[in-house]
């Protein structure tokens, strides 16, 4: 089991409020991703769940038990740190065995579990090395190994992939997703990378300045962002925002349209503009367009699109993909 619920969790250092009050229910076996720009409080929230920091007020329950005053060791959670936090003086074997030794598991059992974890993680031949002799990816796997042998109620990942190079990051991403599928244990994963969030999560929690902006499945967030912030944060390239006269025509303070939801037409579009810059990625082309009234827009065109800077084009938004926001930045109902 591994349900976690946060009730009015608040964290402040003196007058500086990090998290004003968060409510969240995490279901057993769910893969939850906390995402947000740096400094949004996502790591703090994770550390509060881990028990590595105190809440100022509020309550955290794991499997229905109040763990607010329980030390990290007693919460039966496992954590994978950004820096891996491996014990440098212990071999890989002892690193993985450490939590089991602390739980006083008997020796034969420990051996079995290490062997099993090493096999899953492809670490069998490195078991007697010290962390200093391993590559970044291997260290990452040891950190994961140390977490899984405990069979915790939930795994906490604190930006685990940010120290890896791009290729390895994709591999590890897939690996962690498979791990989740096999173990079916609750996982909470913190990242600032919205691509990671979109690809991995069952549900995403978007944080902004310590406040939970929206909780939902990746597609929910993509299709129905509840605020300007979520709309701008999820999706790549960013959603285009247009305010002023164009927005007022639609009874909104700001309207948003994703680059992929704007069609390029030869004429009779809603907006006319000039191409400033064209990024040809092969599969797609991203056009930066100066559309006088609407301002500067990014538009996705097919890969074979042949426009070059200076060309005049006409743009037509897919009307049911237009997002409208009020002056407070909250989404308005589709109208």
């Amino acid at each position: 089991m591994g349900t976690i619920s946060l009730k009015k969790v608040r964290k402040a250092f003196g007058d500086v409020v990090i998290i004003p009050g968060a409510d969240l229910d995490i279901k057993d076996g769910e893969f939850i991703v906390f995402v947000g720009p740096s400094g949004c409080g996502k790591s703090t929230l994770l550390r509060l769940i881990a028990g590595l920091e105190d809440m100022t007020s509020g309550k955290i329950e794991i499997d229905g038990h109040d763990v607010t005053d329980v030390a990290p060791a007693g919460r039966e959670l496992a954590m994978v740190f950004q820096s891996y936090a491996l014990y440098p003086h212990m071999s890989v074997r002892n690193n993985i065995a450490f939590p089991l030794k602390m739980a006083k598991v008997d020796k034969g059992e420990i051996e079995k579990k290490i062997a099993h974890a090493a096999e899953i993680l492809n670490l069998t031949e490195y078991l007697d090395r010290k962390p200093g002799q391993l590559s970044g990816g291997q260290r990452q796997r040891v950190a994961i190994g140390r977490a899984i042998v405990r069979e915790p109620k939930a795994f906490l990942f604190d930006e685990p992939l940010s120290n890896l190079d791009a290729a390895l990051r994709v591999n590890m991403r897939v690996f962690i997703m498979q791990l989740h599928k096999n173990l079916a244990t609750t996982m909470i994963y913190v990242t600032h990378d919205q691509v990671e969030a979109m690809t991995m999560a069952d549900r995403i929690v978007v944080l902004n300045k310590g406040t939970i902006e929206q909780v939902g499945s990746p597609l929910e967030l993509y299709n129905k962002p509840r605020s300007l912030f979520v709309a701008g944060f999820i999706g790549s390239p960013k959603m285009n925002f247009i305010s002023g006269k164009e927005a007022a025509q639609l009874d909104a303070h700001t309207i948003g349209i994703r680059p992929e939801h704007i069609d390029v037409t030869a004429s009779k579009g809603l907006w006319n503009g000039t191409i400033l810059l064209a990024e040809h990625l092969g599969s797609d082309s991203f056009l930066h367009v100066d559309a006088s009234d609407a301002g500067r827009l990014v538009v996705r065109a097919p890969g074979e699109f042949a426009g070059k800077p200076g060309d005049k084009i006409s743009l037509k938004p897919v009307s049911d993909r237009l997002h409208r926001f009020d002056s407070a930045g909250l989404a308005l109902a589709r109208g």
Binding site: L52, A78, M79, Q82, L86, Y87, R150
Partner: protein, 348 residues
């Protein structure tokens, strides 16, 4: 051209540096030479140190006459036990200061309030002493009065924020021994002095003057501030995430300290031990004042050679070499690590 100039420069520098180095080292070298000469040759050393024969006899005689082995045993006992005791106290303290620092004082009282409380407790003690005629014949009364004084003082030190606590510890190292000599001397030497009589137990049976029971804790206290400081600076370099990982892994405080922190900080702990070793090996003030036989360390052993009848130079030299050789070698090996401890982290 430039190459040539720099070679000449190196030659000059080498000559100057070696001259100064040899000059500074010379007294030690000279002692070593005298230690291997016969007693009569030692007196005419400047004239003929190359022509006279070499001998090992002095070392044997020193051992025979003044029992060198017993003194080096005493020194070792004091140095090793006090270092271990110091580590036992200092590792948890330095852990606490490095990883669970107190940003604010835990008590709401201001510094002046504390000062008033401590001074008031002192006055209470003095009044107590006054009404017992300034003569705490019953040591029990004395001890109770001292507790009245020590408890608020400890609480004050204990509740300070870590920054101030560290500085306070440093300041205790700066107390001149002359200020503490009298009470320590009288506490150690209970024969006919203060604190003799507890009423039901005669303390003079438990005289700790000239005993390991007195010297080991004393030496620990002398160097505890330095040990804590040095360990603190080493612990600060260990990423806190690793200790947090241990906590997540279910480690108790004891396991966190014994199985994660201590092994990781081993090099730092080793240099701390070395510095402590050197300082307590060479300690002279307390050793000369508080020991004379049973627990006397090497610094006392050497001072015995200052008396006029003990002025046999070859033996003095042999004894000196025997007293300094172990620590000199240790010092050579650890000199680079010592700077941090010798400046309380103010120079790195």
């Amino acid at each position: 051209m430039a190459r040539k100039q720099s070679t000449r420069r190196t030659i000059v520098l080498t000559a100057v540096a070696w001259t100064i180095g040899i000059l500074l080292f010379f007294p030690i070298f000279w002692t070593a030479v005298a230690a291997f000469k016969t007693e009569s040759d030692a007196y005419t050393l400047p004239q003929n140190f190359l022509t006279t024969p070499w001998t090992l006899e002095n070392f044997g005689i020193v051992q025979e006459r003044s029992d060198y082995l017993r003194y080096i045993f005493n020194t070792s006992v004091i140095v090793i036990l006090s270092t271990l005791l110091g580590l036992l106290l200092a590792i948890p303290a330095a852990w606490s200061m490095a990883f669970a620092p107190q940003a604010e004082a835990t008590s709401k009282l201001s510094g002046w309030t504390w000062l008033a409380i401590i001074l008031a407790s002192l006055v209470i003690c003095f009044l107590g002493l006054y009404f017992t005629d300034w003569k705490p014949a019953n040591a029990f009364v004395g001890i109770v009065l001292l507790l009245i004084f020590v408890v608020p003082a400890s609480l004050w030190a204990w509740t300070r924020r870590t920054h101030d606590g560290l500085l306070w510890m440093l300041s205790t190292k700066m107390m001149p021994p002359a200020g503490a000599l009298i009470p320590i001397y009288l506490i150690f030497n209970r024969n006919g002095l203060v604190f003799k009589d507890w009423g039901w137990i005669n303390l003079s049976d438990y005289n700790i003057m000239d005993s390991f029971w007195g010297m080991v804790p004393l030496m620990t206290l002398l160097n505890l501030p330095i040990i804590i400081w040095m360990l603190f600076t080493y612990f600060k370099e260990i990423p806190v995430g690793i200790l947090e990982a241990a906590r997540m892994d279910g480690a108790s405080l004891w396991n966190e300290l014994a199985r994660v922190l201590t092994p990781m900080a081993l090099p730092g702990i080793a240099s701390t031990c070395l510095l402590n070793l050197i300082l307590s090996w060479n300690e002279a003030f307390w050793s000369l004042n508080l020991t004379n036989k049973y627990a006397a360390p090497l610094s006392f052993f050497i001072s015995e050679y200052s008396s006029p009848e003990g002025q046999f130079w070859a033996k003095l030299s042999a004894a000196s070499i025997m007293a300094i050789a172990p620590i000199l070698v240790i010092g050579w090996f650890s000199q680079k690590q010592l700077v941090r401890g010798l400046t309380f982290g103010a120079v790195k």
